[in-house]
Symmetry: C2
Subunit: 254 residues, 2 copies
Amino acid sequence: MLVIKIGGSLTDFDPLLRDIAACREPLVLVHGANKELNELSARLSHPPRMVTSERGEISRFTDAITMDHFLMAYAGKQNKRIVERLRAVGANAVGLTAMDGGIAIGRRKPHLRIKEGGKVKILHGDHSGSIERIEPKLLRLLLDNGYLPVITPPAISHEGVAINVDGDRLAMEIASALQAERLLIFADTPGFMRDVSDERVERVAEYGTGRARVKLLAAAQAIRRGIKAVGLLDGRGEHPLMRAFEGAGTWVTT
Amino acid sequence: MLVIKIGGSLTDFDPLLRDIAACREPLVLVHGANKELNELSARLSHPPRMVTSERGEISRFTDAITMDHFLMAYAGKQNKRIVERLRAVGANAVGLTAMDGGIAIGRRKPHLRIKEGGKVKILHGDHSGSIERIEPKLLRLLLDNGYLPVITPPAISHEGVAINVDGDRLAMEIASALQAERLLIFADTPGFMRDVSDERVERVAEYGTGRARVKLLAAAQAIRRGIKAVGLLDGRGEHPLMRAFEGAGTWVTT
């Protein structure tokens, strides 16, 4: 079993979706829609507000209006255009958010401590959180019946509120819950480095910045949870999945 | 088994969703997002273009950009806010479009013959169509496993393209394919008339105009296909589902 993540900044999904439709191994596809959301928010006069946490992590402040736009971009346009394309090329795709069927349940952190201009500030009304539990029942039901689940954030809080969660971490948590053998993370970059061994990846993550750091930490955690191989891969160009199977990209293995 | 349709012009879904979550009978919820789409399209500088067919039927011209907005409004915001709310009040909701898992397959009519200023014109590039087949496998799988499917247009064409289909007809086709006993159509109107019998509904439909006519024709067709009762109901106010069970609204029965 495979879990494949497509980054929301990738502009042309088509070669990857064709490869996915041709893949015989059961798989779950997880995707983001970061670029789509930024564009939509700007057009709807509610531009993205990126904030830096006390720990130095950059995240999106997701107020209720941003969550509406998030749902439009992630669950609406991106998820369904992917499902449409996959079905057109022969895959039996079913698109869901991680809220549907309670796939990913997490804790909402409504108050966000941020650093702005050297000062610590608290922002209220954030709709973000971290995943605490994966309920794999619906995903297994779909996989066992020949469907290809296409999953996107948001997840849902214990109180039943949509929460913005990191897409890479969602993919990792799903891979772990389904005991997937491999997790393949495609982005619009050529991978990170060559031959990263498990022992060194935590240290490597210290050097990585921003998104690369999050990806490497998710990869390291996936390995600790029993996934045999995590690929950080280039989603651009022809046959990206086939190239990954042939060994291209950065692989973290046990 | 019940199929419940919520019209996209209803503004406060909450009382109905609470009743639905409390309902013990297995059910499928179908919804639209007409109002949401009109607002979004206007804000994104691509206002809705309603056209009149040669036969006098009013429909939305759905070019590729409108379909993007359609997916955002129907599959994104509306579908997921309904799923979120249902989950918060205890229902095990799963939101899908009729494309997912190939639930509703139809024929796309890319060229639309319209009447405009007394003249017949042809508009190209429409993404609308009519449902030709329901594949109930995914819906049954979800119902048999305790999920509440929440379904919205679009459907998918034989070629794998998203098509705008009428939400009332989608609900009727799903009810028919699942051999539902009752189809309940909620809108922001107090029903149509009192005591409509099956024999007269086709004639009644001649007098109805616009949306009312489409609803009555769908109701008549549902009855011919073996659904025992179709309710045209008021979705506003407290406990709309309970009131419908008590006999409020317009019912078409065998």
